[in-house]
């Protein structure tokens, strides 16, 4: 087989491997073997019509860029970004907004309750986004979870704003 074609296949498969790192070992093996098998099927089918390198180039073009071979990667990035923002938000809430003891006990208790609710909703939202990873994007459950997340986010923003305003007023 043409050396250049082999190199091109190897380079493409390396790219695919990088983009599916987050999948299980079994799934990764299945992906790589499926692509390999598809490329060799194309070579066998189009032999004599085009050169090996041309067949591989065309087939890779048809398969799409290696970094986009798995749509789950995009979802995983979305999830990671979303979770990271929420975790930062959560740490912020836990360390900055839990009211100091000098504040009168009434307001202090109220602020604590608000902070606890905010933390709970944030944790629920993180759990929901991880659940979304396992669900088909086109299913109705996915959409319902998505709406629920938006509602929770809106509640969190209101809670966050209330806590911030209350602390500013007290100070």
């Amino acid at each position: 087989m043409d050396k250049e074609a082999i190199l091109l296949i190897e380079k493409y498969l390396e790219g695919v491997k990088k983009s599916i790192k987050h999948l299980s070992k079994e799934e990764r093996k299945d992906y790589i073997n499926t692509i390999k098998s598809h490329l060799y099927d194309a070579l066998e089918d189009q032999k004599g019509i085009l050169s090996e390198i041309e067949i591989i180039k065309n087939t890779i073009k048809d398969l799409g860029p290696s970094e986009k071979i798995h749509y789950m990667r995009e979802r995983f990035i979305e999830f990671s970004v979303f979770t990271f923002i929420q975790i930062v938000f959560l740490i912020g809430v836990l360390f900055s907004f839990i009211p100091p003891l000098t504040i009168s006990s009434y307001i202090s208790e109220f602020l604590k309750i608000l902070s606890i609710f905010l933390a709970i909703f944030l944790v629920i939202n993180i759990l929901l986004s991880s659940l979304q990873l396992a669900i088909n994007r086109r299913s109705s459950i996915y959409k319902k979870i998505h709406y629920l997340q938006i509602i929770l986010m809106a509640i969190n923003i209101v809670l966050f704003a209330s806590i911030a305003i209350l602390i500013k007023v007290i100070k």
Binding site: D30, Y40, D45
Partner: protein
């Protein structure tokens, strides 16, 4: 003045042409979405021996259904995940291939979907192709 009006007209025509093309493309995409899965499931069922990805793409193309590999494989994965088809790796001509076969559940769902499709097609066709 005339030139400005003319260039505006050209811009409007090209813009509306682009948006019509976009609308048509979106419609085709929507129409193809569900139907492709039905066609692939039907092909897997009708094929007496087990079939594989490349063969499926080629046969779809032979039937004037253009489908890319990056559309076909996710569909096959979805069908497999829903347990409508099952797969096994086998070496054919010194080459490992993932072979697909329809499951009993897949056969049942396909027969129900075929009935629905035929009714839907007949009824919508009457409306769509009705000429005054």
């Amino acid at each position: 003045m005339y030139n400005t009006q003319y260039s505006n007209l050209v811009f409007f025509i090209s813009k509306s042409k682009n948006s019509s093309e976009q609308i048509i493309n979106n419609w085709i995409k929507q129409l193809r979405k569900g139907i492709l899965e039905l066609a692939i499931l039907s092909y897997v069922k009708n094929k007496e021996s087990k079939t594989y990805g490349y063969e499926l793409i080629k046969n779809m193309k032979n039937n004037n259904i253009n489908i890319d590999s990056n559309t076909m494989y996710p569909i096959l994965r979805r069908l497999e995940k829903s347990k409508l088809i099952e797969s096994l790796w086998k070496t054919q001509n010194n080459q490992p291939r993932k072979l697909f076969k329809i499951t009993e559940e897949g056969k049942f769902i396909l027969s129900e979907l075929r009935k629905e499709w035929n009714i839907f097609y007949r009824n919508t066709n009457k409306i769509i192709n009705k000429e005054n």
